[in-house]
Symmetry: C2
Subunit: 198 residues, 2 copies
């Protein structure tokens, strides 16, 4: 664990504030206040708001990649890995209930702002998408891998949005259970079809 530079602190604070309050609704002063540095010092590290946003997206990319690598190392079975993904909804349920999904809400906001970093935010989705695809492919769902990946992503997004709207935690748990059921039946079916080919 390397020491946290001021820049790192800024990015960490901005990351959290962008998630909780949204990008546009978060001001320089908000972030500087959270890090307890002056606005001048802030400007020394980031000259524009867009630069901070790009740094935050970069940090999230790294975090996400690390998480995916972690699951890759922890579990032997691709199905277990996919379940790890699905269960983030439960692990982060408290934040999700209040602020929704960090990725989904950011891409949505940037789309409305027509912000240049839209593509960067979408890359966060792509990171999950390709990783999930890989897992489904490892399960023998060669042809449907990307379709299944998008399906899982979409359902997770929907759960996060509605859980946030209704503040309903039971709903999260129920849908997570149903997604795991879907995973079991769908991949079992796909695997048996693959076997028929032999």
């Amino acid at each position: 664990m390397t020491a946290m530079t001021t820049r790192d602190h800024i990015v960490a604070a901005a990351n959290q504030l962008f998630y909780r309050q949204g990008y546009e609704h978060t001001s320089f002063a908000d972030i500087a206040g959270a890090v307890q540095i002056s606005r001048g010092n802030f400007y020394y590290h980031f000259r524009t708001k867009d630069e901070i946003l790009d740094a935050v997206i970069g940090a999230r990319m790294a975090e996400t990649q690390a998480m995916l690598d972690g699951w890759e190392a922890e579990s032997e079975s691709p199905a277990d890995r996919i379940r790890s993904f699905i269960k983030i909804l439960i692990a982060n349920r408290t934040d999700i209930k209040r602020f929704g999904c960090p990725v989904g809400t950011l891409t949505t906001e940037l789309a409305k702002l027509n912000h240049p970093s839209q593509a960067g935010a979408t890359e966060l989705f792509s990171l999950f998408r390709t990783w999930l695809s890989t897992q489904f492919r490892a399960l023998g769902c060669e042809k449907d891998a990307d379709r299944f990946a998008m399906h899982v992503l979409a359902r997770s997004q929907g759960v996060a949005t509605l859980a946030s709207a209704f503040g309903d935690e039971k709903f999260i748990r129920r849908e997570v259970g149903e997604m795991c059921d879907w995973l079991a039946t769908t991949t079992a079916a796909a695997a048996s079809i693959e076997q028929e080919k032999d």
Copy 2:
């Protein structure tokens, strides 16, 4: 069709702008410009931004209720009605690809702003939720009606979010198809279970 008052024009313009640009990112000047009236005139009709938001939410509630009533009148079968709901994703695909779901994105934004009208936006979801519940109940899914309603809502939300992120229209059509399949198999199963009770 009654004549459109200035107030109606304002609400209509605000409704569209809030959807496309987001609530916070839309200014008084934006709306006044769209309706081509002066800011002073604007202020005569709405004294604060929150008032416009409430009016917009009210208008959306009325629109939504009218749409649901329309489906109720058009279709005899509850399954057809639910399919009408699912297929809004296709009917509105162009807007959804660019701006996401009007209800989901609004509730998400208001949640981050911690805005007083959060509850009002959630009511829009509730309108769909209770209506869907009613349809599922009419299909014989007494016990699971609300669960199914939330499930359909969540999947629609997820599809809208991802379709917007990736600008993918084929994905919308595919997921709509799968949701219709789900509807057919799930309600058939539920109905047969109900029959066993007799």
